[in-house]
Symmetry: C2
Subunit: 406 residues, 2 copies
C-alpha cells in the first residue's frame, strides 16, 4: 500500500491495499473485539459526566487521564478546552487528526445517568458523543505505537463546542493553531458503521432585533411596532427562493417579543437558521436576509405616526459553520468506503455538520464517521445505544485511520 498523501488529493489508492491492510490488522481487530465490554464501560463512564456545550472541562479531564494512561505524548488541554494527545509515527510527517467532540446538547441539570441492560444503554448523550469518545480511546489503545505503528503521527483530540451554539468552537481553534497542516482529519461522531460524512453542511445563524419607542397600544398607537417588523421579516424570509441543488434551507426557528397584550413593546427579535453545503449559496442568501430585514423595518416605519421615530434594528451573527466538501474521489473517502464494505456494510456518502466542517473548509481532507453500533433519540432525553456489531464498527474506523496514517 502506498503512502497516502491526503493533501495531494489525487494519489490513487488501490482498494486491494485496504483489503490487505484489513488482513494485517487482524490481531488489532481481535483485540478490539475482546475489549468490547471495556469500551462500553468507558462509554457509560463518559456519558455520565455532564458536558453541556461550554462546560466540558470535567469530561475533558477524564479523557486527559485516559490519554495519559494510554501513553499518548504531549497530552494537554488547549486554551479553549480541547484535550490533545499524540501517538508518534515512524516519521516526522504532518499528522492525521482523529477527533471526537466532548459536548452534549443537554443542560447542566439534566440527568445524565446511564441505564445499562446487556448491550443496550439508555442515557442522554450515550451516542452523541459518548460513543465517539469511547471509540477514539479504543483507537488510541489499538494504535499503541509498538505492535501497531503508523508512519504519520496520529493526533487524538477531544473537542469542545461542537453542538448548537458551540459553533464548532473547539475545531475552529484546533485547526487555526496547529503547527503543521495535518494530512487529513477523521471525526468520530455518534454511532453507526455505514455513513461517511464527506460534505460539510455550512450554516449561518442570525439573531435579528427590532427596536422602537414602545408604548400603550391605544394611547401610543402610531409608534412603529417591532413585532410587526419581526413578523414581516419572518414572512419575507419564509418566502425567499432557495436552490434545490445544493439543498439549502432557511428557517426562522425562534421569535419573541412583547410583555403584555395591551402594550406595543420596545423590541422584538427572531433567530434564523440558514444551511447549505455551498459557500456561494450561503453568501447570496445572507445578502437576501439582510435585504429582507431592512425592508421589514422600512415597511413598518413608513406607517408610523408623525413625530415618532422609525424602528432601528441589528443583525447579530450567532452561528457560522463553514462548508465545503471532500471529493468523493479523494483517497480518504475511497478508503472509508472500502473499509465499510469490508465489514459487510454499504457505504452511504452524506452531508452533515460536524467537526469535519472546519478542516474541510480549510482545504484539509476530512470525513466524519460513526464509532459503531446503533442508536437513536439523539438530542432527546430518550437517547439510546445498542451495541450491535460495535467492535466491527471500530475495526472499520481503525482501518480508515491506519490507512490514512500509513
Amino acid at each position: 500500500m502506498r503512502t497516502l498523501d491526503a493533501r495531494a488529493g489525487a494519489a490513487s489508492l488501490g482498494l486491494d491495499d485496504v483489503q490487505d491492510l484489513w488482513k494485517r490488522l487482524a490481531a488489532a481487530r481481535t483485540a478490539i473485539a475482546a475489549d468490547d465490554d471495556a469500551v462500553l464501560r468507558e462509554q457509560v463512564a463518559l456519558s455520565a459526566i455532564a458536558a453541556p456545550t461550554g462546560s466540558e472541562s470535567a469530561r475533558g479531564a477524564h479523557v486527559a487521564s485516559r490519554f495519559h494512561a494510554l501513553g499518548l505524548r504531549d497530552v494537554h488541554v488547549d486554551a479553549v478546552g480541547n484535550v490533545l494527545g499524540v501517538r508518534r509515527g515512524a516519521e516526522d510527517e504532518p499528522p492525521v487528526v482523529v477527533c471526537a467532540h466532548l459536548d452534549t446538547v443537554f443542560p447542566e441539570e439534566a440527568d445524565v445517568s446511564v441505564r445499562r441492560s446487556g448491550a443496550r444503554l439508555d442515557g442522554p448523550g450515550i451516542v452523541d458523543n459518548a460513543r465517539g469518545l469511547a471509540g477514539m480511546l479504543a483507537l488510541a489503545r489499538a494504535i499503541d505505537g509498538e505492535a501497531l505503528r503508523t508512519r504519520r503521527p496520529v493526533l487524538f483530540v477531544a473537542t469542545v463546542g461542537e453542538e448548537g451554539g458551540g459553533d464548532l468552537r473547539g475545531a475552529k481553534h484546533l485547526f487555526a493553531n496547529l503547527e503543521r497542516t495535518p494530512a487529513c482529519c477523521i471525526a468520530l461522531d455518534g454511532a453507526g458503521d455505514d455513513r461517511i460524512v464527506y460534505r460539510a453542511l455550512g450554516a449561518r445563524r442570525f439573531r435579528i432585533t427590532y427596536r422602537g419607542a414602545g408604548g400603550h397600544s391605544w394611547a401610543s398607537y402610531g409608534v412603529p411596532n417591532p413585532i410587526h417588523a419581526a413578523g414581516a421579516a419572518a414572512a419575507r424570509l419564509a418566502s425567499l427562493p432557495l436552490p434545490r441543488h445544493p439543498r439549502t434551507t432557511l428557517s426562522v426557528c425562534r421569535i419573541g417579543g412583547g410583555i403584555s397584550v395591551n402594550a406595543i413593546p420596545e423590541d422584538a427579535w427572531l433567530e434564523v437558521d440558514l444551511r447549505s453545503s455551498s459557500g456561494e449559496v450561503l453568501a447570496g442568501c445572507v445578502a437576501d436576509i439582510r435585504a429582507a430585514v431592512h425592508s421589514a423595518a422600512r415597511e413598518e416605519s413608513v406607517r408610523r405616526a408623525p413625530g415618532t421615530e422609525p424602528l432601528s434594528y441589528d443583525i447579530a451573527m450567532i452561528g457560522d459553520r463553514p462548508c465545503g466538501a471532500t471529493s468523493d474521489h479523494h483517497p480518504l473517502v475511497r478508503i472509508a468506503s472500502e473499509a465499510t464494505r469490508l465489514i459487510g456494510r454499504s457505504p452511504e456518502l452524506v452531508t452533515a455538520s460536524t467537526d469535519a466542517n472546519v478542516p474541510i473548509s480549510l482545504g484539509i481532507p476530512a470525513i466524519a464517521i460513526g464509532a459503531g453500533g446503533r442508536g437513536g433519540g439523539v438530542h432527546t432525553p430518550g437517547e439510546w445505544y445498542e451495541n450491535v456489531d460495535g467492535s466491527l464498527g471500530l475495526a472499520r474506523a481503525l482501518t480508515i485511520v491506519v490507512a490514512a496514517a500509513k
Copy 2:
C-alpha cells in the same frame, strides 16, 4: 331641580339646577375638605394591599369592612369578588351605581408599599385605583343617608378584574346580575378632575396559535413552520386598513415560538389587541383578522414538502371589552361637565376603556371620572399621586352622584 331620570336620556336638566345643588352641598363639601387627610390615609392603606387582577380578595375585605363601618346596607361580596353596599334612598327607585375597581396591573410579588412625603404619594397603584377606591369611600361617607340623602339608592361597588386580562369581569358580572336596571353608573377611576369618559373604547383580544409537526431545521426541512405563519399573520395584520374615525387601532402586542435555533418548532403564537369605540368597526376588523390568520396558515402550508401535514391554527378570544357611548347631550354628561366647570376646570370628553364600558354597552348611561388630584406613571412601578385640589375633585364627584341620584 327636577328629578333626573337618567334612563330616559332626554330629560332636560337646567344647568342652573347643578349650580343650585353645588350651593346646597356646601356643608358636605366642607366636610370632604376637612377629611382630606383621612382620605389620603385611606388611599395609602388601600394601595399597600396587593390586589393583582384575579387576587383582589384582601383589598376587597378591607373595602367591605369600611362599607360596614360607614353603615351601608346589604354589604356583601358577590360570586366573582365584587364588594357591594347600598346607601338607601328616599324612594324605592332603581339605584345609581358608583363603582371603583379593586385590581391593579402589578403582580403579587411587586413591592406595593407607599412612600408619603406631604401631599405626594409614591407607590404602584396609588392612583389607579387606590385614589378611585378612597374617593368612593369618601362619597359613601358624605352621602350618609341623613344629613345628605338622595331620592334614589346609591349602590357602591368595588369591582374586580378591570385591568388587562381581567377583561371587566367584575363589572360584567355586576350588571348581568342586578335585580333592577340601574338609573346610571359613575365609575371612579384614578386621579384627575377634568376628564369625563363618555365613550367606551371597546377591545377584542385574540391569541392565535399555529401548530405543526416540527422537527430538525435541516433533517425535517419542508414541514410547515408555525413561526413563518405567525410572522406572516403579524405582517398581514399590521397592514390591515383601519378607519381613522372612529379611531381604531390594531397591534400585535406579543409573539413567541421556538425552542432552539436549529429546530422548527411545533407551535408559535401571537396576541392581538384591537380597539375601537364602534362595535360595527370591531366586528369588521375581527372578520379581517380571521381572514388574515387563515391566509397566513395557507401561505406557509402550500410551500410544504410532499407527505407533510399542513399547519393547523386556532384563534382564542382572550379579551372582549364592549363598546358604545353615552350621548354628549345626555343629562349625566351635562351634569358632569357643569360640575367640572363649577370647580374651575374645563371638562374634557374622552374615550377610554373602564368599568363604564359594561353599562354603556347595555344601554345604561354611564361615565367614568377621576377622583381628584394629579398623578402619573400609571401602570409603572414609578406611579405617583399628588394631592393638588384633591378634595375639590371629590366635591365634583359628589355633585355628579347626588345630581344623578336626586
